[in-house]
Symmetry: C2
Subunit: 403 residues, 2 copies
Amino acid sequence: MKSVKELLEAHGKAEKECYFDWENGSLVDKEVFNAMKPFFLEKGYGNPAITHRIGWESYEFYGMEKEKIANSLNVDSVNLALTFSSTESNNITILGTTRLNTKRKKILVSSVEHLSVIHAVKSLFNQGIIIETIPVTHNGVVNLDILQEKLDENTLLVSLQSVNHEIGTIQPVKEAIEIVKDKDEDIYFHTDASAAYGRIPLDFLDLNLDFGTISSQKILGPKSIASLYVKEGIKLKSIYEGQLSIETLSPNVEYMPLLAGFAKAVEIQFNKFKEINEYTLKLRDKLMYGLQTTIPRVEINGPEGHHRAPDNVNISFLGCEGEALTLESSLNGIFASSGSACTSRILMPSHILTAIGRKPEEAHGSFLMKLTRLNTEEEVNYTLETLPKVINRIRSITGGIEL
Amino acid sequence: MKSVKELLEAHGKAEKECYFDWENGSLVDKEVFNAMKPFFLEKGYGNPAITHRIGWESYEFYGMEKEKIANSLNVDSVNLALTFSSTESNNITILGTTRLNTKRKKILVSSVEHLSVIHAVKSLFNQGIIIETIPVTHNGVVNLDILQEKLDENTLLVSLQSVNHEIGTIQPVKEAIEIVKDKDEDIYFHTDASAAYGRIPLDFLDLNLDFGTISSQKILGPKSIASLYVKEGIKLKSIYEGQLSIETLSPNVEYMPLLAGFAKAVEIQFNKFKEINEYTLKLRDKLMYGLQTTIPRVEINGPEGHHRAPDNVNISFLGCEGEALTLESSLNGIFASSGSACTSRILMPSHILTAIGRKPEEAHGSFLMKLTRLNTEEEVNYTLETLPKVINRIRSITGGIEL
């Protein structure tokens, strides 16, 4: 087997490079970087809990920056906890609610939730926690009738994401919350809004949510900082313990450079909310329908139009396998991911494509591209020119076999 | 009550500023910052688990950078997990071992461990986990005879830090491990080496440790990244669940910019290990003994000479209260912390000063300063000139009352 270094050397660098794998990793732009820079090097580097000038300076920035994030969700910043990742936010919610109410044992999640939600619930099996999944339509929309049927006095928590991270489905979260709270005010409701944040309007206060997860990385802020909204009055406990610190749900999380980067990314995304989302929507449709038109045997995964997040393109190229797809695209400077099992070091097929009824050969050929304000129309044009050749080549090598 | 903004305006900025509060927060220098910069902006920003050029590039850097950290401890990088904080590393160890062996219920810790260790153990009380603390001498050295006495077949884990973070005591970790393993190979041994890492030689392999915690921030790397060494063959489980990722003990932790900053800080600290530690030791003794000589009624907290970490100065000014101390010092440009209850927003007195037998009035007046390669002799000289006046002023205001 070749070493990664040899692989990289053999790969070389394509003449043009288009990064669409924002779901899995992202850079920050100059503006976000410049917002972090002074906090790394010269100011606000103290612990905001400590009583000296550098500590107070940190505390002041901490409050200001957190306020910007809270405003973007229309919540009070005292109800917004900083965490290290949306994975942690989801886990704090799930592990935390099982401690708040030890009588109820059932957690309902849609079948297309992020794995951090599904795995967190499943990890509690030994503690008697049962997971029940709510099926979705072929477009990934959760079935509200089945949700309603499954609610009972044993139901502790319902976790439904706002937007699906792989296929862009916008979920009927508002309706789901009404159904849940109509049935029983004491059932907690959580939304993982990581893939929705900054893409569709979110008003956590108006939604009457109990818990909401958002992430910095998903709006082009730095990774290793995220947040969890917890409704006023709910006394959630942290899942691990530290020195007493200002942030209590995730001890030791307050780090000004990352918070400053997060807040700057929020500022950019929300100051130009309409503009950015109209822009990515235009690119999305040009890319998605362009590929559908020029390449035979393709299938769009997820809904279309305004039922789909404006940044999401997920399309299956039948007769192609994900590993060949991402590799051959990469050689041509197009970086995306696939729901196929073999395209990541972790060998995990997409449970989401299975949940919407895609057959293995359809999931194998899936290709996920996301669009951000940093993508250009030129990149979309290049991709529309290049991908048909990539697909053609893969299909000709595999002999057009029905995989 | 004044707002933080008003407080800062009233405070102003001293002519000269000397930062010694490295225990609670730190900046990074240009070199570390420049190591992070390209990973934020242009390269290695992909998820290292994904199979495209940016993913592979990230994976290659990930391996290289982690190797540097592993080398600094003489361990194999496959046995080193990345985490978000040393708090998380300590918690993974404690919560994780209780799952590895559900029969044993006793965890032994020294009375001067970091609160993330003590609080983590105490949080398991409902699961039947008992904490027993090993007392320390007046210099903070753990009592090995009592450790030996307390070991029994119910003992799950012994957690003993390598260096105390407040009073600089270097613990006899090697001897403690021998005692524990001689008694029973199956008792796990963990050291929180956060305050030791980079200051005293640490060879985790030679020590025959099971678990070891280190932190990036404590060697002037960025915060929000740390590490946990887990001995080959021990199958520790994560304390929360995520998408499958390369790092398994703390899902979703791999972020190249912070890793690059951590690795650069390691490189600097270990390439000049002897030089840096001789330098801070010289400054330490000049500062500590200088204050002892020029200010009446002071007490050094912790041991002296080579039994004390080279970066640690902790001194009690009798007749002073911590809040006045840190505030008045801050007004004069000297930033440090105190073990008094009132000097942080979290109102927590130092359990360490109590554990070494300090009376309340001694703990009240304690003043913790740490020295790094970024401190200068000029700062030490300034502090030696300034602090006597600060102490004098505080004592004259409080009327020299024996607090």
